[in-house]
């Protein structure tokens, strides 16, 4: 009778003889990953995606992607006898007549919100710690692509049940398409198969929602993870951590256990939320009919900032030669989001150009040590939050008994005023924190112990911080702004591209002008030789 180990060994050997997998497993199992809670934010997104695939598959078993009209005869009485699309009727069936259907639907929708939210948070972590720097720009781009796709995928999922909010959402989408000059009408007719809403929309977006986009998601997520694996994970600064190593724990057994456990935590939290809180009560919205609309029509939060731009933008239109160019739709829904996403995607390249930093980075920045970037990030988040709030201006008005017009005007002004203030305040806080760090290294920690010297002088004893801490606080470098090159080279020949170098010098000054350099070894040495302060 062979022992368990022997049997397992034999089985592994059988596999290895056929696939030569031992080498791969050995390398992979020993792959080292650094440990930090903030590295698990992206995992939340990954696990929510798996939950979405599982619950989504369940929903497809009963959902009918059709706009064919039926008379509802299911068990939800307040809709009994109404004419509605098969899509809406089958979603009602899932909610009320399929066992476990409602909670699976709610898990699917809550998981979608958590998926999108965790991506925003994960992207923020990557941004503020500078994890997007060389060599990881490609992965940043993939991430931006994934966020963009999430917004589209979410809109499609929101529209599939064909309830009153679904249709209202696509009514706006129709308006956006129609606003595009020259080809708008054609695009709209292509999408809807004729006039809105037509009968083709639901089947079409169903295929996109359950097949096309998930396929692209899977491909991009795989590429995203392979790049993390191949380029290795970044790590926070600390003793022994350099640009050439990775300090952490092996993939097996530490992270297999941790990641596996965390998956169940994510699934568990999502399920609990779905068990206790309603999401998207489509039976209250009613079936979509183009003649109906409801107060409080809002998109899910990931679309909220787009709704906000649309609600804030002034009512500008150009009318000429019998045509209308609706700038009030075109700019807020296509131009501004395009600019926002492009600048987000290009940020790593822009920062590299400004700093002239072409070296590889595997050790992360502490956000305070890069005040300008941190300030810009907070500025972007502030903008996003203002737009999100503006998208809910009617809900704010009714909840707090305010005038919707006043709120809209407040946000119209705030969108220009508040983000720059957020930038300046954040940058000042970062610089202050850096000065505090510097102080801590040079003077140690205040102990609160007051000692009276023989000559009567009272001093507070400062305790030097540990070596580890001191390393963390002094490991980073603070670059100097790039100096403007002279307009002629050493031979007196005028340089080319003077304008570009001027712009770059100016941008570099913007980034690095305010700096708090960390104490140098000679500074700290002085401290040690003179005893504490």
């Amino acid at each position: 009778m062979a022992t368990l180990e022997q049997r397992a060994g034999n089985a592994a050997n059988e596999i290895d003889e056929r696939f030569g997998s031992a080498n791969f497993v050995k390398r992979s199992a020993r792959k080292i990953f650094p440990d930090h809670w903030s590295f698990m934010l992206g995992e939340i997104a990954l696990y929510s995606f798996i939950i979405l695939l599982l619950t989504g598959t369940f929903l497809t078993l009963w959902f009918t992607p059709s706009q064919g009209e039926v008379v509802y005869e299911g068990s939800y009485v307040p809709l009994h006898g109404l004419t509605m699309s098969e899509a809406y009727a089958s979603t009602l069936r899932i909610s009320f007549d399929v066992r476990g259907g409602l909670i699976i639907r709610q898990i699917h929708h809550w998981a979608a919100l958590i998926f999108a939210a965790s991506m925003f948070v994960h992207a923020s972590r990557v941004f503020f710690t500078g994890a997007f720097r060389k060599p990881r720009e490609t992965n940043w781009l993939i991430g931006v692509g994934l966020i963009t796709l999430t917004i589209i995928e979410g809109l499609l999922g929101y529209s599939l049940p064909d309830d009153l909010l679904s249709g209202t959402g696509f009514r706006i989408a129709e308006g956006v398409l129609l606003a595009i000059p020259l080809v708008g009408t054609y695009l709209s007719f292509f999408l809807f198969g004729g006039e809105f809403p037509g009968e083709d929309l639901i089947p079409r977006i169903y295929t996109m929602h359950v097949l096309l986009l998930p396929g692209i998601f899977l491909a991009l997520i795989t590429a995203h993870l392979m790049l993390v694996w191949y380029q290795k994970h970044t790590q926070y600064p600390g003793p022994g951590r350099t640009e050439k190593n990775t300090v952490g724990y092996p993939f097996f057994p530490v992270y297999t256990a941790k990641a596996g456990g965390f998956f169940f935590i994510v699934f568990g939290v999502t399920t609990l939320l779905s068990a206790f809180a309603t999401i998207n009560p489509i039976w209250l919205f009613g079936p979509y009919t183009p003649t109906q609309v409801t107060a409080g029509s809002q998109p899910d939060f990931y679309m909220g900032f787009l709704e906000g731009v649309l609600r804030l933008f002034p009512n500008w239109e150009i009318q000429a030669w019998g045509f209308t160019l609706p700038l009030n739709v075109l700019i807020p829904t296509l131009v501004i989001p395009g600019l926002l996403f492009t600048s987000m995607a290009l940020y790593p390249m822009i920062e590299r150009w400004v700093t002239g930093d072409n070296s590889e980075h595997h050790v992360l920045d502490r956000p305070r040590n890069v005040p300008t970037r941190t300030g810009l990030g907070v500025m972007a988040i502030t903008t996003w939050l203002i737009l999100l709030a503006a998208g809910a201006n009617d809900v704010i008005a009714i909840t707090f008994h305010l005038s919707i017009n006043a709120i809209t005007w407040f946000f119209r002004i705030a969108i220009f005023v508040v983000p720059p203030i957020a930038y300046v305040v954040t940058k000042r806080i970062c610089l202050g924190l850096q000065r505090r760090d510097r102080d801590l290294v040079l003077h140690g920690r205040e102990t609160g112990r007051i000692v009276r010297l023989p000559n009567g002088e009272m001093i507070e004893v400062h305790e030097p911080i540990s070596e580890t801490e001191r390393y963390k606080l002094t490991a980073h470098q603070v670059p100097e702004p790039i100096q403007l090159e002279p307009s002629t080279d050493t031979n007196g020949i005028p340089r080319r591209r003077v304008l570009a170098s001027k712009m770059r010098a100016r941008a570099s000054r913007f980034y690095f002008e305010d700096r708090v350099p960390p104490p140098t070894p000679s500074d700290t040495h002085e401290l040690e030789s003179s005893g504490h302060h």
Binding site: E43, G81, F262, V269, Q292
Partner: protein
């Protein structure tokens, strides 16, 4: 049909009930005085008389063609009640609406608003109004139903208007809730929200929440169109439709939320907030906890 013996008499002296007639009568009415006038063509008063005649004829024709007032508001109400209502009116309402309900700069005329308007406005506490603002709000009711009825009777006696719906009009037991929902979504939800939770209107005005509003008051609101609300008279929205709407609202108001906490039934805004603060919040807390475990 009554013939007009004294054709030169001013028409407005005649009671409205005498003013129906065929085209022939109209032609006669028009031509006879003109013939009489033509004898003294140059009179200074001719234009004036013509004008008065024109007005009288137009008014008479309108009265003849227009349908009779829908509700006879004052039927069955004792004049004592009207008197009492007038006393209450003078004490509590007249400072804004005028001593004869003719309206002032502070409040509109109440002639012809009907008993339903009084019952709604006073019965929901909106009247007497507390303060100026974008909109007069629902608040504690300050009168007993008897007092409200008396004031309603007084206002109804001033001119015909919609009456307070009776028991039969409010009996929505047999109404079709699903159809009511469809009518509600077509006519009401754009302001009051899909679940009757209310919604914002321009400049601080709002469509109030319909939660806990009695069927009678919902009915009266549709009849009278208070504040920003349009009037849904029985001509545009038959009583059966009103009943259906009320039934739909009452059923959905009372039904248990099948999916757990309803989150206010105001759409995706609260869902987003819960998703971030509760869902993602809990997960980040777990991540921090797991991260701390490793050390």
């Amino acid at each position: 049909m009554h013939e007009h013996e004294h054709e030169h008499e001013p028409m407005h002296d005649q009671p409205p009930s005498h003013r129906h007639g065929s085209t022939r009568t109209f032609v006669r009415l028009l031509t006879t005085p003109l013939r009489a006038l033509s004898r003294r063509r140059r009179s200074r008063f001719a234009p004036l008389v013509l004008l008065l005649l024109g007005l009288a004829i137009t008014g008479g024709a309108y009265a003849a063609v227009a349908p009779p007032p829908q509700a006879e508001a004052s039927t069955g109400v004792a004049s004592a009640s009207i008197k009492e209502g007038r006393q209450l009116y003078l004490k509590n309402c007249s400072s804004c609406h005028g001593l004869n309900a003719e309206g002032t700069s502070d409040g509109p005329s109440l002639v012809g608003v009907g008993a339903a308007a009084v019952d709604f406005q006073v019965g929901t506490g909106r009247m007497p109004a507390r303060q100026d603002g974008p909109q007069i709000q629902r608040k504690r009711v300050e009168f007993t139903q008897d007092e409200i009825n008396a004031m309603a009777a007084y206002v109804a006696s001033l001119g015909p208007g919609p009456a307070v719906p009776d028991k039969e009009q409010l009996d929505y037991a047999d109404a079709d809730a699903a159809e009511g929902g469809a009518i509600y979504r077509t006519n009401c939800s754009m302001c009051h929200n899909f679940a009757g939770k209310g919604g914002a209107l321009s400049r601080g005005k709002y469509a109030p929440s319909l939660d806990g509003v009695s069927p009678k008051h919902i009915y009266e609101a549709m009849l009278t169109g208070p504040q920003s609300m349009p009037v849904f008279g029985d001509g545009t929205m038959p009583p059966e439709d009103k009943k259906a709407i009320i039934k739909y609202l009452k059923i959905t108001e009372q039904e248990a939320s099948p999916g757990g906490a309803s989150l206010g039934k105001i759409g995706p805004v609260t869902e987003g907030a819960v998703g971030w603060l509760v869902g993602l919040g809990a997960l980040i807390a777990c991540a921090v906890w797991l991260g701390a475990k490793a050390r």
